[in-house]
Structures are given as structure tokens and as C-alpha cells.
Amino acid sequence: GDKVKQSPSALSLQEGTNSALRCNFSIAATTVQWFLQNPRGSLMNLFYLVPGTKENGRLKSAFDSKESYSTLHIRDAQLEDSGTYFCAAGYNKLTFGKGTVLLVSP
């Protein structure tokens, strides 16, 4: 099965609403990274996490290594948040999930 399982696989939001994405790990994860891949294909690093939480603007992420999951919360979704969100676990060799495709509409 998938070592890094992301849910949901796809999500539609209206502008201004909130949502949460999730990653479950079946491998031992000590660090997690979240990325946003835009429609052109470029990947942007959103968070690098050890167990705990981080916040950056409208985004907040948490990583619980004991329960083997991580979440990414999006507050007040904007059109530019659309894209595919990937989580990845690993220290020197990242294992990626299959991504959550997010579409934010007016």
C-alpha cells in the first residue's frame, strides 16, 4: 500500500472558506514537508516540520510523529491557493503522497 497516504484526493472550496488536508504515514517519519505544485508544475515548499506545529499566514500545519499523521489547514481560501498539495516524509530521501488537488472558486 501507499507509504504516504493523502486525503482527500481532490477538494473544491469557495473563496473565503477553510479546510484541512491530511497525510497518514505507514513509514517511520521524523520530518514532514508540504509542497504546493502550481498548474505550471512548479513546486513551492510550504512547510518543513519536526513534530509540532507551524503557521505561515493563512496556512497552519501540524505533525504528530507518534500517531503518524500531518495536517495542513487553509484558512480564508483564495484563488491563488489552487493547485496540488503534496506532503512528503523522510530525512534525506523524501517519500511523497499522491497529492490533493485543490480548486478554489469565486
Partner: protein, 112 residues
């Protein structure tokens, strides 16, 4: 934020030819990586590189693949010879320590 540049953005070649993908990593970064993404699928690790040497490679890193970074210039991925299944987007990434990875925009390789 820090930029990783990949050249070219798209490369089309005939099966059996050699191809070199070029990556200009963030200037003070020490660790370099290649990942492969087949259309619609997740990114998969190919190889990482530090201090002039391959540290770790995956099963996807076939014998036809090689990487190098001569004299601190481009970090390159060479495939010789190419096969149809090598068609994918190849992403280069770099990091200062083994932590936050910064990715390039990818090179789309089409093997005909």
C-alpha cells in the same frame, strides 16, 4: 525565496539517444537531488548527491543514469541511452542541510 533553475524546460529526443538535464541549484546549498514525476502521479526519488558523491539512489535510478556536478557548476542528470519509459518530468532540488528542499520547475522529457 531561493531559486533552483532547470534547463531546458522541455526536451524531445529519440529513443536510444543520450540526454543531459541541467540544474543550477541554490548557490550555497550542499545537497542535491533528482526526482521523477510521471504525468498525474506522485514525485519519486531518484538520487541524492553530496560532496561530489552519490549518497543514495532508488531502484528507478537505472544503470543508464548518471549524475555529476563538475567544479561546482550545473548539477546534471545524464541518461544514456534513453528508453520510452524515461518520459517524465524530472525535478531537481537542493538543500543546505538535509532539511528544507527547494525544487526547480522541472524538465519535461519526451522520448519518442
Amino acid at each position: 525565496g531561493p531559486k533552483v533553475l532547470q534547463i531546458p524546460s522541455h526536451q524531445i529526443i529519440d529513443m536510444g539517444q543520450m540526454v543531459t538535464l541541467n540544474c543550477d541549484p541554490v548557490s550555497n546549498h550542499l545537497y542535491f537531488y533528482w526526482y521523477k514525476q510521471i504525468l498525474g502521479q506522485q514525485m519519486e526519488f531518484l538520487v541524492n548527491f553530496y560532496n561530489g558523491k552519490v549518497m543514495e539512489k532508488s531502484k528507478l535510478f537505472k544503470d543508464q543514469f548518471s549524475v555529476e556536478r563538475p567544479d561546482g557548476s550545473y548539477f546534471t542528470l545524464k541518461i544514456q541511452p534513453t528508453a520510452l519509459e524515461d518520459s517524465a518530468v524530472y525535478f531537481c532540488a537542493s538543500s543546505y542541510f538535509q532539511n528544507t528542499l527547494y525544487f526547480g520547475a522541472g524538465t519535461r522529457l519526451s522520448v519518442l
